[in-house]
Symmetry: C2
Subunit: 325 residues, 2 copies
């Protein structure tokens, strides 16, 4: 099986690559060819015995999408994109990368006239307030960010290209991924991770919103699991509604901090400093608090059961089990 | 006030133009300038004393959208588009005209850096089966035609451009417009009008679907009324959810025929011939049967009360009160 990953240098891209290399197969088929592309150079996949191609490419540039799929990958994980904060501050870049880049990929596939599987990472930012207490699968998409609008538009394209038989798409709406390892990125949701990650590493973290803010989270490990699971779903299982909200742990920022305190102690949790930020507050206030994800759960997608598990997953996967207490 | 109408040579475009010229004003402001564009030459508006510009233009062609708004129209009715049947048979043309054309218009407005009102005709084809008995305003958009996908994508763009302050958009999801005057067009919904229009003119009409098919209709007169009403709504009345499903008369094809018989007699209704068509059946089976349109009704949008009124509106507006009995 030949797998293409776009946005392969990103956090989820790197973890997905490592998981695929570790598994050695996908849907019970051996992986013998990996193509990794991103706007910054992805690393060569360590320990992979098959053919590996790594390239620096922006899918929205002329010809880039056609080159990306020239070898006709069987499975495409399309993760590339500009994050929410940047799509809000740079309107043109957001539409160019998130909409035009995705459309170029779909068009290149249509022109190549074969029918690969395409797993697309959408986001719960496709939903916009006001919400019911928990968002059902049938709820309308009224995003309140340009990022959310771009993701919703790409979902519609993916569904139409799938319906027309040009490809087999699955859109997975990721909840906020927490705890993101590494440095903060420009996502408006970055602080949800920062208030766990920085204190565990002995650093101070800034909290830009109130503790009462409720949100839905899944670990990077769970997100990679969603992608792998989506790759195994058949068209018959999915039906025409191929875009699915993923499950996650719904909790308040205060409950996140409580979980951190339970898992790592009060000294760690005390490293969080309140620093209200109006732009972040405004963006986050339009986001979903809780998601039913009924269809996704029925289709076998699994997230963590509690935020404590998310803290522990971070300590295991990123810190080698050690915290700075 | 300067008004631009795209798709001005189409049926709704012509009726809207006539209504605006007749009214002489919009939102209590005198109309002194009308720009009419379409891919086929629109007629000069008869009886209009102000400045009138008429041009043949495809908004998806390079520079066309910029030229269309060069004089900074205060109010833009964006009606231009490829109909559902054609968007399904010609994938590329549908996306080029319905998506790229609309996006070019929105981008031209953003580049011109002023904030006109933009009334966009969307469609209930943004919804896709399976449906609840009646579709609530909060229902998801899962179109089952490329036309519906294109309309849903343009709604998302319109809402995002509105949220960002580039324009003041209102998207109105028209139910099927019935009775369409003139010759049949390529819309898959064409027969809903044909089975009324042709018998009233003494002609045989083909019915490609079962009499049990239920659908929601509004007259051309009501559709023009929706557009005029939308032009008068303020941003404060609308809030961020600017795309609204319009009200209409929900009835079965059998009930349409009963209404025709009541208004025009059994001899007229007997001119309908059953001629099942699989493509039309398949497309129509994915369409909405009944729409709540709660927000639209609360905001003052009005359609006919019964299908008999729709038949009578056609006889009055198109046949000078006369039918071929």
């Amino acid at each position: 099986m030949h797998i293409l990953i776009t946005g392969a240098a990103g956090m989820i891209g790197r973890k997905l690559t490592a998981r695929l290399v570790g598994d050695g197969k996908l849907n019970d088929k051996p992986i013998d060819y990996l193509t990794l592309i991103d706007v910054v150079a992805p690393e060569k996949p360590a320990g992979f015995s098959g053919k590996a191609e790594v390239s620096t490419s922006d899918l929205s540039a002329p010809g880039a999408a056609t080159r990306a799929i020239a070898a006709r990958p069987d499975m495409i994980f399309h993760l590339a994109g500009v994050v929410s904060g940047e799509a809000e501050t740079d309107f043109e870049k957001g539409y160019r990368v998130n909409l035009d880049g995705t459309r170029a990929l779909l068009e290149a596939i249509r022109a190549a006239n074969y029918r690969p599987k395409v797993i697309f990472t959408s986001s719960i930012a496709v939903f916009g307030a006001p919400f019911p207490t928990s968002i059902p699968d049938e709820f309308q998409l009224t995003p309140l960010t340009s990022y959310g609008a771009q993701k919703a538009i790409c979902e519609l394209l993916l569904a139409d290209y799938t319906r027309r038989g040009f490809l087999d798409g699955v859109g997975i709406r990721l909840p906020t991924i927490c705890v993101r390892p590494g440095k903060p990125n420009k996502a408006a949701s970055g602080f949800f991770s920062g208030i766990i990650r920085e204190p565990l590493a002995g650093q101070e973290a800034l909290l830009p919103v109130a503790e009462s803010v409720r949100h839905t989270h899944a670990s990077p490990r769970a997100a990679v699991g969603f992608l792998i699971h989506a790759a195994g779903l058949t068209h018959e299982q999915l039906g025409p509604r191929i875009n699915l909200a993923m499950p996650g742990v719904s909790c308040t920022v205060g409950e996140q901090i409580d979980a951190l305190r339970r898992v790592a102690g009060g000294k760690v949790a005390a490293r969080i400093r309140r620093a209200p930020d109006e732009l972040i507050q405004r963006i986050v206030s339009g986001w979903a608090e809780r998601i039913d994800a009924t269809r996704a759960r029925e289709l076998g997608f699994r997230a963590e059961a509690a935020f404590d598990d998310i803290v522990r997953a971070h300590i295991e996967d990123e810190l080698g089990g050690k915290i700075v207490s």
